[in-house]
């Protein structure tokens, strides 16, 4: 990393201290990003930029204010830091506010930077995007349009400095490819989407494979109908399962628990889930998309067991919310609140197909829309599409229905887990089954 980001972070901390902050912490992020989109035989979007941003947290006698800026000119920074410190004076004093106790960060090789992201040529990336468009159309004649095929990568350097002597930096990379076919199903149009993300191009599935999976998903949904209103076991395919796990993360976040905006508040030590529910947050997972040596406050990341065989063991914390609830930070500070590192449900065994085989009757959900989660009560519902499962086999596609339940009941009746987890986001899950949910259709 060049000296500049660390230097800018030091300068911001010094400016804040001069302006009257007792403590300050600054993070500089510099991100070199590439984005391309292809449609049919053309590259339709090509974007490339280096974006820089500074975030600062200033504490004035336990009063906290934050600054986020893309203006890094010396005059701009001086003026904005002053505004930030001034804004802190409107905040009520909070004795729990302030920087974390200094902790040393151990050296780990987390494999979060892959040099092939820099090395791969623009032409190769554009060829990948175009080949996904061709591959989808070749898969089935009814696929005659798309919502674009995309290739994106980024190399991001982060430097963090605080007034208690912390100084740290790291560089990470990410790559993602995705394909979105549009298929003609009689008079209707059907869309599907599939994508993959990794730390480098070397670990990515081939572009052609991503395109084929996306195309197959569109084809398989042809002729889908609305199921009858009933109560059934629901199999959540792994990407859909990850969305559900995201809601669970919110319920386990110390920031939500502290304001009682979580159905899990006050329940540590209680049995909530079935034996299949072991949930981990691991900031040190090799090549994990959410791995980093330290969190947004410079606290070393670690592995935390959140649920162990159904029993709620721990919430996840940044420094402030840990102090508030009499716990210790779990290294989950992110963007001024609590965020996931690599938050996942422990995989079981077998493939998704095996899980279907183990299900006499139910619905396999491949896609959901909406975001109706009430974190206070755990009430959960989504629009869904997927396949009816009969006698352990996929029978026919279904769409236009909702599934509803309560997160607490869903955890308690989670009764089978596949082994198909892929660590391609900071919240991931293997496919799993919930014993019964309400299906609302015709």
């Amino acid at each position: 990393m060049s000296a500049e980001p660390l230097e800018l972070a030091h300068r911001a901390v010094a400016l804040a201290t001069e302006a009257g902050a007792r403590e300050a912490e600054a993070t500089m992020a510099v991100s070199d990003t590439f984005n391309a989109e292809a449609r049919a035989e053309q590259i339709t979007k090509l974007q490339q930029s280096v974006g820089r941003s500074l975030t600062l947290r200033a504490f004035v006698d336990g009063r906290k204010a934050t600054l986020a800026t893309t203006d890094l000119s010396p005059e701009g920074m001086a003026d904005l830091v002053e505004r930030c410190v001034e804004a802190a004076r409107s905040v009520q004093r909070d004795p729990l506010g302030g920087l974390p106790e200094p902790e040393s960060v151990a050296a780990h090789d987390l494999h979060i930077f892959e040099p092939d992201v820099h090395a791969r040529s623009e032409d190769e990336k554009l060829t990948d995007a175009l080949s996904m468009e061709r591959e989808m159309r070749a898969y089935d004649a009814r696929i005659d349009n798309s919502n674009g095929s995309r290739v994106a990568d980024a190399v991001t350097s982060v430097a963090l400095v605080n007034s208690r002597g912390f100084e740290g930096s790291y560089t990470s990379s990410s790559v993602s490819l995705s394909a979105s076919p549009v298929l003609r199903d009689g008079t209707e149009k059907r869309t599907a989407h599939y994508g993959a993300s990794r730390r480098g191009y070397g670990a990515m599935p081939a572009a052609s494979e991503i395109a084929r999976i996306a195309a197959r998903r569109a084809v398989e949904m042809c002729g889908a109908r609305k199921p009858q209103t009933t109560i059934l076991p629901i199999i959540f395919e792994r990407d859909v399962a990850a969305v559900l796990l995201g809601d669970l993360f919110a319920a386990c976040s110390g920031a939500n628990v502290a304001i009682e905006n979580s159905f899990l508040a006050g329940r540590v030590g209680e049995r909530i889930g079935s034996d299949f529910v072991t949930i981990i947050d691991d900031g040190l997972l090799p090549a994990g998309m959410g791995s980093s040596p330290f969190d947004a406050e410079g606290v070393p990341t670690r592995k935390t067991v959140v649920f162990e065989r159904g029993v709620l063991r721990s919430f996840l914390f940044d420094t402030y919310h840990a102090r508030k609830l009499g716990a210790k930070s779990t290294g989950n500070a992110s963007g001024g609140t609590v965020g996931p590192n690599n938050f996942y449900l422990r995989p079981g065994s077998g493939s998704l197909e095996d899980l279907v085989t183990r299900t006499p009757h139910g619905i396999l959900v491949y896609d959901i829309i909406g975001f109706a989660t009430e974190h206070v009560t755990g009430t959960w519902s989504r629009g869904a599409s997927g396949f009816m499962v009969e006698d352990g086999q996929i029978a026919y596609p279904v769409d236009g229905f909702t599934i509803a339940g309560n997160l607490r009941d869903m955890l308690a009746t989670l009764d089978d887990v596949a082994g198909d987890i892929v660590y391609e986001s900071s919240i991931v899950s293997p496919s799993f089954r919930v014993a019964e949910m309400t299906v609302s259709g015709t």
Binding site: S73, D94, T438
Partner: protein
């Protein structure tokens, strides 16, 4: 502030950057320069918990060749860095080097925002006072109110837009939102209510729409939800309430009428202008010219003035919402619908304020037509898939309808339907059109922009209600 600001870039530099962007043979180039200062204050546990200041400053440069777009941005305003961004954007054209001169001249635009006490003139004490008043009002509303969380976010965004066709416009856009979340509790059961309001205006708005009224509404919803029963399940007649019910139009029809999806042929409304797409009771407008509303734009993020657009008229599809690129490729004019989250993003055709004009029935007459059904007073959000038209809405506040009257409040319902299908089932429209409270934002392609919605009371003869109670 530093001396060089994006909206005061010298004209000579703007012209040179546009010329550099076109060196490789691009057809059109555009500069979007932005400087946005926002303040945020958060209320928690009866006190001001945190303050935030945020500055978004930078320049985005776009080059178009047919339907191809190149884009580069820079937060560094040095000439070198800006020229680099212009060259990156220009690469999409892949031709050989040749420089052609570009000249721009400024056009003045009429503001669409309500003049007054804008964000940049407000003292911190004023913000603190509004939030503490909201907190007090929510707590006084009902003894069962357990927690109150609030936020006040305000900004002024300065933009300068210049194009290789010679256009140069500036716009100054205020935006303020006061939002309150209330948690109520009874016998260990907790529920929540959320409400917010604001717009493209100054803080004097809160003299009229007081923080007490906003917090009171959030508290009322939380307390109502304490009494709520499980949502019914299956196909039912649904009455959608005025104002916030407008999310229905936004999802069920609006997104499908954005021009990118229609030019690309991926929307179910592609190529259907002039066709009947809804019941003849359905008329839908998208209007960027409503003074002070959250979705309004004096000019959009491509420099085109905001407009009043007829999307659907008595059930017939009249037109799409156009940005510059799609309008040109479809041989029509931009409707002032090109919007973006910030200088780091390409513009997309987007909605502004989307609403349905009033019908002629009294709202209670609409409800009286339903023997057993569902009343959605407001939605907490929605999402649509624009090719097939399937959408969902999350109900914020809902009631059962029994024998033409609202009865028990209902919790946690999701409505699901298909846009074109639902629009043919609109069977009654009330006379009570109103614009919703100003707290809605719309996400598309990873970009969030503020929007407005509005609706009169509306009856949909049948729709799938997805609750957890079967039978």
């Amino acid at each position: 502030m530093s001396d060089t600001q994006p909206e005061t870039l010298p004209r000579s530099l703007i012209e040179r950057l546009l010329a550099v962007a076109l060196e490789r043979g691009g057809e059109q180039a555009e500069l979007f320069c932005e400087q946005r200062l926002s303040h945020a204050l958060r209320l928690q546990e009866g006190r001001i918990h945190e303050a935030g200041v945020s500055m978004t400053r930078g320049v985005g440069i776009r080059v178009r060749v047919g339907d191809q777009q190149g884009y580069g941005y820079s937060d560094d305003l040095s000439e070198d860095s800006l020229e680099r961004a212009a060259r990156v954007a220009g690469k999409i054209a892949r031709g050989s080097q040749s420089l052609r001169a570009v000249s721009v001249s400024e056009r003045l635009v009429e503001s669409m925002y309500v003049e007054g006490e804008w964000s940049d003139r407000v003292a911190m004490g004023r913000r603190v006072d509004l939030l503490l008043r909201a907190d007090g009002a929510a707590r006084r509303f009902d003894a069962r109110v357990r927690a109150v969380n609030g936020s006040l976010v305000d900004e002024v965004q300065n933009v300068l837009i210049a194009t290789s066709e010679g256009l140069l416009v500036r716009d100054r856009r205020p935006l303020v939102t006061l939002a309150v979340q209330v948690v109520a509790e009874r016998n260990g059961e907790r529920t929540q209510g959320y409400y917010g309001d604001g717009g493209r205006r100054g803080f004097e708005f809160y003299d009229r729409i007081t923080p007490e009224s906003i917090a009171g509404e959030a508290a009322r919803i939380a307390v109502v939800n304490l009494e709520a029963v499980e949502a019914p399940t299956g196909e039912l007649p649904v009455v959608v309430g005025p104002g916030g019910g407008g999310v229905l139009l936004h999802e069920a029809v609006g997104h499908g009428l954005e021009s990118d999806f229609n030019r690309q042929g991926v929307s179910l409304y592609s190529g259907r202008v002039g066709e009947r797409v809804a019941s003849e009771l359905v008329t839908i407008y998208d209007d960027g010219n409503l003074p002070g509303e959250r979705g309004s734009v004096a000019v959009d993020d491509e420099g085109t003035p905001g407009q009043h657009k007829v999307l659907v008229e008595r059930g017939v599809l009249r037109g799409y919402m156009q940005d510059a690129l799609n309008a040109e490729l479809m041989r029509t004019h931009s409707t002032g619908s090109g919007r973006r989250q910030s200088f780091r993003y390409l513009p997309q055709p987007r909605m502004t304020n989307t609403y349905m004009p009033a019908g002629d029935l009294q709202p209670d007459e609409v409800i009286k037509r339903v023997k057993r059904g569902f009343y959605a007073k407001s939605f907490s959000g929605g999402q649509v898939e624009i090719s097939k038209g399937d959408f969902v809405f999350m109900v914020g506040e809902g009631y059962l309808i029994e024998d033409g009257r609202l009865t028990a409040p209902v919790k946690g319902a999701t409505l699901i339907g298909n846009g074109p299908e639902i629009m043919t089932r609109v069977s009654a429209v009330g006379s009570d059109m109103k614009l919703a409270n100003g707290s809605y934002s719309c996400g598309k392609g990873g970009q969030l922009v503020p929007v407005g919605v509005g609706l009169p009371t509306l009856l949909i003869s049948s729709m799938t209600v997805g609750g957890s109670r079967v039978g």
